[in-house]
Point group: D2
Chain length 304, copies 4
């Protein structure tokens, strides 16, 4: 089987489809992105790579970065982090406050905004200089010293981030945010502002397909058990209240961002990044999901 | 790697643990089951089998049977069934009515009681003689003509089944049950009353590890895509509001029943049945989950 | 002030208004009612009476009857009934199941369907022959031996009463229905089928404006404290999730039914019945509420 | 009937009762209040006054002040304010965020925190200098130029006000807060910090018993219809999710604060202030409610 050919074929089929998605209008800075971008990049654990379309164009990875913050917190504190959040799919939209009230301020999982804020709080407590140290971590993980935040994007998100401010203060009211909400939010907005190309995204996340090890020099990012567990959480919680649908259609652990990016992992085999800014009603990239559904069908490479 | 040795080792370790689980007291007939039973049976796609403990003792498979009713409905109607229910984890207990009110009578997935009732309604509409025809289907799937309902158990469950009666009438009030609720419930209570041994359970479900084909003669139960999708739904929804936790700890698609049985599937490799009647607070077998967690850790056979 | 003149003036003003209400289509037997009916009847504690429009036409009083079942249960058991239900407005529609799940099967108040079912269960336990004994009670209260159930209406409601069947079985699953759900539901459907004219409705409920005493011979139906409490519950809970709005606009305790009837009480002064079958989105009579709002404004007879 | 004698009798009876209430520990500054304080002050529309116990001691009126902010917003903008919030009891605790999510940022009523924040936002928009102008308004209404905020209390509440910050930003995310959340919150915290004695509280609120007019010189604060409507909202929403219970037991419109103060109004007759810092689980003064229940029973002065 030739991944390049199949990717090209599926890419061409999906590119002309009208999925009816909308570019996120929530963050001013995101609203201006050209909806026609469509890029894909695959990297395998046996050193094959293939890219197509806008795959060398930077975009805002947004919530995809929450896998990286989870990775660092998990690496630093181990299973202890689960005292402060769960691993259950929430069955609700990404920014819902409802369950927090029932659950006493314990977010259901690290990929809804509430859970990502608790992970940010953990990192703010653990890191000497959260912004710099976290950047250092993703540069090392990806073996790419050029990765960076977009200060413009972070500022843009902060300017309209009322829902996240509400979430962070709400969790604080239950005592499950330890630092000042403003400090946690600043780190959170920066986290979400990270920019990558599909190529960079695919390569950064390859450790999750490679038993927790960086491909370049086999350096361990996470141990085997932790790697499996991060993949497992992506499987059940990576797409908010569309996680079941993604698992059903695509059959790979993955994570989406409202910038239109998606990362998907085939444990042991490959990491694939897709980017198309048009979002469906659940806030996930329409063409991204469609592409991955066709790809795993054609390649029979769903994990199920 | 020798599955038999590892299973024995893990079985012995878990058998002596005190997980603190309680036998379900909800259904009178279940309440009398000896909590000490503990059995495991593994069947691989390459014809290896291994059993230990109470693995030849019949027990009530309860909600594990919902995978079989889903299989038959999916086989008969294909993707059309998803017009009447979803594939999303619910984030709520198995018998919750809350989301139905918000979602207009469309159950989140086929494994919560609400969704299983809609699947039963579909089968009542599709089958000439639901009870007999469905029994015929599971006997064929398992290649085991002795499988049967327990009329005593069905009657016992019906006698206290107020929550399920409520669910079925509630969905009917939204128009998403087409037949008379009483008829649907009678079929549902019988479905849940099916009895199997661990050996039978493991062998019956092997088609899900075998690309949808019965192992004995390669006869197709589901096609490849449908098989992957049933596994995917088990992964995200198989353990009610503990589905994320099971995925996180065990890393295999699976389904539990309040009789204490669990089936787990390693696609391409094996099907394993575990039975221990003591349940945790979420209604899933304590020792069953513990056993599978240790097993996939030891064998590194999680799918992630 | 002359009540007759003011009622006539307000009646004429409201009669020509197009409130846009819809006759309930939920119960087949109700759906056929002529939407043009509009009747009003006032009875004062000092023996003045005045009727206008369709005030001598029988209609199905539906949930207005829940005040009568509450009255009898309260009369028989006193404050003890509040062990099984509350007196809080629910903030949700009349037939919602959601709060029951949170509140462990304890309905918020006796006027939502859930609470009315618990009251029915209490009466089924207390009365030798629930249907006959309750009929006897309302005939005595109203001093009108011709009042009766409509068997046709009760049967019609039962034929589509899935939501109420769900509610009753759901409460039973929490143990807060003591009798067989079918028996309780039969009594409930009969209760809702009572037919009265505006004149009869107004006279039947006059005890609530008269310190708990029947006006004809001063016989006590409820004591003074119980009477005040029933009025208080009507004030906060009489119009489902429009109770606050009714209190705000009309300023009298009252109770509505989906047949389009409303009873309102001015403690110490009068009881007024209004009937117009067109319902607003909350299930309450549009013209009925409009009429009462204008009436209490004109007469300055809100209790606030 | 002699109000003074009855008040004294009931006061003495309730003073020795152990209601088991707890002083609010939520705001540091409130936590230090002596739980033994118990004061009552009654003012009638025909110029009778009577006080007992700690009735000349200042306390933090907290949420009781929300009636005053509603009064001013209602006076300035009339019925237009109801475009931004409702008049329905919420059926949930005072600081719940859940319904806002369902209701798209429209608070159920002006007395839950969410609604009070929207009223504050309206006043911040309408008043040139919110803090000063509002203070001026309550001084005029009460004819008492010494009334003031407690800056210490406002600062104390702000220091732990995460839930209110969450609420305000959450509503802002729906667009129903027009000003900067920080500005609205500052005004809100000051509003809640107003201090009065029972005597001052009773006299300040007498306009609601007096058809909207100040008693001293008959100056209009609200018109007759507005006054009735404010009383109506107090009746259905004044005690959070205990509003039905208060209406049931006391039968007067009223409003509580977590400082332990309660104001209750008998339209046309009197205004009564009670203060006792021990709160029940719903956040309302235990002895305050008990006192009012006995008082309206003894005096038969419930409005029902």
């Amino acid at each position: 089987m030739n991944y390049g050919e199949i990717i090209t074929e599926v890419f061409n089929a999906v590119e002309v489809e009208n999925c009816g998605g909308q570019v996120s209008s929530y963050i001013p800075e995101l609203a201006g992105v050209n909806p026609k971008h469509f890029g894909v990049y695959l990297t395998t654990t046996d050193h094959f790579e293939f890219g197509i379309g806008s795959c060398y164009q930077k975009f805002s990875i947004q919530s995809v970065a929450k896998v990286l913050s989870l990775t660092l917190a998990f690496k630093m504190l181990g299973e202890k982090i689960w005292e402060r959040l769960g691993v259950e799919p929430s069955g609700t939209p990404f920014n819902s406050l409802v369950q927090l009230e029932t659950d006493g301020g314990i977010p259901r999982n690290p990929f809804i905004n509430a859970g990502a804020l608790v992970i940010c709080d953990i990192l703010v407590s653990q890191l000497k200089n959260p912004n710099l140290d976290f950047l250092q971590f993703i540069r090392e993980t990806s073996d790419n010293p050029t990765l960076n935040y977009s200060e413009t994007m972070a500022a843009s998100e902060k300017s309209v981030g009322y829902r996240n401010i509400a979430l962070c203060n709400f969790i604080k009211s239950f005592g499950n945010i330890k630092n000042h909400p403003g400090e946690v939010l600043d780190f959170y907005f920066r986290l979400c502002s990270i920019e990558m190309t599909c190529e960079e995204l695919s390569k950064t996340f390859l450790y999750l397909a490679n038993g927790g090890h960086r491909i370049s020099d086999n350096r361990q990012v996470l141990n085997a058990s932790q790697t499996k567990r991060v993949n497992a959480i992506m499987q059940t919680c990576g797409f908010y209240d569309e996680s079941g649908e993604f698992t059903f259609k695509v059959g790979l652990p993955g994570k989406s961002g409202i910038g239109g990016g998606i990362i998907a992992i085939h444990p042991g085999k490959y990491s694939i990044a897709v980017w198309s800014p048009g979002l469906n009603k659940k806030g996930n990239s329409c063409k991204g999901i469609k592409f991955l559904e066709l790809l795993t069908t054609k390649t029979k490479s769903s994990i199920f």
